[in-house]
């Protein structure tokens, strides 16, 4: 996924339903701290420079609103609402228990909880569940054709969304059962049900993007009003009763407001002055030191499972030449990129596609000064020799980056490095609203760009398969998330092998993903992995009970303002 509020995330596949189920067995019911009613009440004030687009949970693909959906919507299953690593675990939510999965992995049987109501007072029924998944196709959900088409009838819904019916979902109102029939086993099916796209909505919801009109949900809060130019207001859902604190705990503030339109600088000042409680946007670099020293107790830093990287277009000059790509890998100083991101306390240099502590990650550094597996620095001599050997010396290269300060600074640095190894490089800074789609579209002939990828859920395939497989390279499309355009059938076959292995043997599957990571970097070098970032949350001094999910980040509804 892309963190940027304005940009759609993309696709994904593969992980481990069986391993999720196994984890759930050990973590089910491991809810957060007990609810302390003394802290309930008040208004939590959030700030963001801009709104996150449509409020429709089946269309919106931004972290900005996925964070808020945690308190407003529920799926059959969800990621556990606790801090730390257990927040990656999938637990039953509107379903009474984790599903019964057939031996061949093709049938998932859920039982829907009884007595739960939407925020408009309407009871949740199994018909709502079926209608929800059909609506996913009707509203052109970004991942309908890559995640949910595994449901029997899905491919037909992709081709004719307006008349979508899913024979692969069989519901029984008497027993409250919901059975999913899949076309093939999918190790990540439960993860895909647990993200907000899988939120159960009333069957009566119109089958088109609802934009700024709130759709009733089942969470502890409901969206009371939304004006993308000014503010978004969440209030308590009067029909909500806790059925599983691990899935949907009771929230603390009575009202949660997110206001839009200030600059980040003034947002920081507002939080410092206690006029607001949290800002969505990254802290500006010139305020980091002040905030982190003067308000140290209110600053929360978390390592993210994400990559900042430079995808190189393997299909056009000069980077259609392996030696040229390897040269750039040797030349870029990842420590310099870390410095430009805010220093070693806010980012860690990386050489691999899979972030550290992520399933499948293996410590390795193919392009390094020396032979160690930990990054030691650039090797400019080797880089210059490779450029010369590649026959691409003196070619023009345009580096595309976003125009915000951090991206533009790193972009300028990359231009300097490319010039130093013999290219004629220039920077093309673009608005963050368009850059992500621009660099994906092969019609724009982007040679090298700067971008980021944040996990959708904890699975190696969400990086390697999503970002580097043939299936996700679409010529001429602005939604071609395989930005480097790498398509190597032998590597694709190995990715498929790893996905299949994840269903039966996750350990072996993850080992294979790790091997693939190193193999891709050494044989293809389609990227320059730069660093793994950290997230800095800055809260006001009146806020308490800060909790952080590795999946959806800070739980806004769990903050105390009293």
């Amino acid at each position: 996924m892309k963190k940027s509020a304005s940009t759609l995330f993309r696709v994904a596949v593969a992980a481990s339903a069986l391993s999720s189920a196994a984890l759930v067995a050990t973590n089910a019911g491991a809810a957060g701290p007990a609810y302390q009613s003394a802290h309930a009440g008040g208004t939590l004030k959030l700030l963001a420079t801009g709104a996150g687009g449509t409020l429709d949970p089946q269309v919106n693909y931004t972290l900005q609103y996925w964070q808020l959906y945690q308190a407003t919507y529920d799926g059959l299953v969800t990621f556990q609402k606790v801090g730390g690593t257990p927040s990656f675990d999938v637990v039953p939510d509107l379903a009474t228990a984790m599903p019964t999965v057939s031996k061949d992995g093709l049938t998932y049987t859920f039982t829907l909880r009884k007595g739960i109501k939407f925020s408009n007072g309407q009871p949740v029924t199994v018909n709502d569940v079926k209608a929800t998944f059909e609506r996913l196709f009707k509203v052109s959900n970004p991942n309908a054709g890559t995640w949910y088409d595994v449901i029997a009838g899905g491919p037909a819904c992709v081709s004719k969304p307006a008349t979508c019916t899913l024979p692969g979902i069989v519901v029984n109102p008497t027993t409250n059962s919901v059975v999913f029939h899949l076309l093939h086993a999918d190790a990540e099916f439960l993860d895909q049900l647990a993200v907000p796209f899988g939120a159960i909505l009333p069957a009566s919801t119109p089958a088109k993007d609802q934009g700024s009109t709130p759709i009733p949900g089942t969470g502890a809060y409901k969206f009371a009003s939304y004006n993308p130019n000014t503010s978004l207001v969440m209030m308590r859902n009067p029909y909500f009763k806790v059925w599983s604190a691990a899935a949907q705990p009771q929230g603390y503030p009575d009202t949660i407001e997110e206001n839009f339109g200030q600059t980040v600088e003034s947002e920081v000042t507002s939080v410092e002055n206690g006029q607001a409680d949290w800002i969505f946007d990254p802290l500006p670099s010139d305020r980091l030191q002040q905030v982190s020293t003067k308000y140290a107790a209110d600053v929360h830093v978390h390592t993210l499972t994400a990559d900042w990287y430079l995808p190189m277009n393997v299909n056009i000059a000069p980077f259609n030449n392996l030696k040229a790509r390897q040269a750039v890998n040797y030349a870029i100083d990842k420590n310099a990129a870390v410095t430009l991101d805010g220093g070693t306390q806010l980012a860690t240099p990386t050489c691999t596609i899979l972030p550290p502590n992520f399933p499948g990650h293996v410590d390795a550094c193919v392009y390094n000064k020396g032979t160690g597996s930990t990054y030691a620095g650039p090797d400019l001599a080797k880089a210059k020799a490779l450029v010369k050997a590649s026959g691409t010396l003196g070619e023009k290269v345009a580096v595309v980056s976003q125009n915000d300060p951090v991206d533009a600074n790193i972009g300028q640095y990359v231009v300097s490095v490319l010039n130093s190894i013999g290219y004629k490089a220039s920077l093309k800074p673009l608005s963050q609203n368009i850059e992500f789609n621009y660099i994906q579209d092969t019609n724009n002939h982007v040679q090298i760009s700067l971008t980021q990828w944040f996990q959708d859920y904890p699975a190696a395939s969400d990086f390697i398969n999503v970002l580097l497989s043939c299936a996700n390279f679409h010529k001429g499309s602005p939604n071609s998330i395989n930005i480097s355009g790498m398509c190597v059938p032998s590597l694709d076959a190995k990715m498929h092998q790893a996905e299949t292995l994840m269903i039966t043997n996750p350990t072996a599957g993850n080992k294979l993903w790790g091997q693939l990571d190193t193999q891709i970097m050494s044989q293809q070098a389609p990227w320059v992995p730069l660093f793994n970032p950290k997230l800095v949350d800055f809260t006001s001094s009146r806020v308490g009970n800060y909790q952080f999910s590795l999946e959806f980040y800070m739980y806004v509804d769990q903050l105390w303002v009293k």
Partner: protein, 342 residues
């Protein structure tokens, strides 16, 4: 030069009957102390900017264009990083002004480059763009204004409508729109190909948005002149249009254009700075005072000099240009037509 004595210069020839109006105006300009001080400041800025490579290579020993993220310098006998990690808390801060003329006098920017060296190089490009755009603007505006005012009819209608259309847009909005479009693709019209990063783009954009501001007054003056006796006499004597425009009209229009010129340079400098500050003007790693201000925006709290220094340069240069423009108007346009006078 019959025509000029009959118009603008008639009042300026009183001191010495034999002195040409141009010489008289220049003498009057030289007597204006404020204008001369402004001219001195402009010359100083221009010379300092021209000497940028000398300063960078021989005094500061820096290359102000490539990133210097991991660079170090000797300061007080110690080797320190140009971008310094915070000793407490988070973040990385460029070194501040050393006030040592030979080492990062005004500190470093977010890329670790010497701000003072970039400021000098930035002055070269800012002045180059401002002057070039002013020259192009004044030349085209004078040609269009003279053609429209003299020939009238269809030519005047076309010229006037073009001026109206360009004038209908707020200058900065039009400049930003043109810049955004041309920034990514460059200019490709017939045989004219200008690369996206070329300095010619901001020069042409800025020149084109200000053409009506000079062209309209020129057209008005020419329309008035056209009815004057000396023009009618020239027409009656069989002089060609080209000769009348060159020998009779232009000498009377030239003082107006000269008065406009310094003001246009000032306007152009402000526009270039604004575009570069917004990221749609000159592109990195090239430096102008606008791009340096933009670089400093992210350091306003910790290293304000990165933004303040180019701001001061812009203010002083524009103020000097305006004072010089006032002096030129007093000398060349004593009836103050451009102030809405007689």
């Amino acid at each position: 030069m019959t025509s000029s004595t009959s118009t603008t210069s008639s009042t300026t020839t009183t001191v010495r009957g034999s002195e040409s109006p141009w010489r008289s105006s220049l003498r009057q300009l030289r007597r204006n102390r404020a204008s001369m001080a402004a001219l001195g400041l402009l010359v100083f800025v221009a010379v300092a900017s021209l000497l940028a490579p000398v300063y960078a290579h021989l005094v500061a020993h820096v290359n102000p264009f490539p990133a210097n993220v991991q660079g170090t310098i000797r300061l007080g006998g110690k080797t320190v990083s140009v971008l310094q990690p915070s000793s407490v808390g988070f973040g990385v801060t460029p070194i501040g002004p050393t006030w040592n003329f030979s080492t990062y006098f005004l500190g470093a920017d977010p890329q670790g480059r010497d701000v003072f060296a970039r400021l000098l190089y930035g002055g070269r490009i800012s002045l180059l763009i401002s002057f070039s755009a002013a020259v192009i603007c004044c030349v085209i505006a004078a040609i269009l204004g003279m053609a429209g005012g003299y020939f009238g009819g269809a030519i005047d209608w076309v010229v006037s409508r073009v001026f109206d259309i360009v004038w209908a847009f707020p200058v900065y909005l039009l400049a930003i729109c043109l810049s955004v479009i041309l920034l990514t693709s460059g200019l490709n019209i017939a045989f004219v190909h200008i690369a996206p990063g070329s300095l010619l783009l901001p020069i042409l954009i800025i020149a084109s948005v200000y053409i009506p501001y000079v062209g309209r007054p020129v057209r008005g003056i020419v329309m008035t002149l056209r009815e004057r006796e000396f023009i009618q006499a020239a027409v009656g004597s069989g002089a060609s249009d080209w000769r009348i425009l060159r020998k009779e009209i232009w000498p009377n229009v030239a003082p107006t254009v000269m008065v406009f010129f310094p003001m246009m340079v000032a306007f152009n400098m402000l526009t270039e700075s604004a575009l570069s500050f917004l990221g749609v003007g000159v592109q990195p790693p090239n430096a102008t005072w606008g791009t340096i201000s933009n670089d400093g925006l992210q350091l306003l709290y910790t290293r304000p000099w990165v933004s303040i220094a180019p701001g001061i340069c812009i203010v002083l240069t524009c103020a000097a240009l305006n004072v010089l423009g006032d002096g030129a108007r007093d000398a060349f346009d004593p009836k103050a037509k451009l102030r809405g006078g007689a």
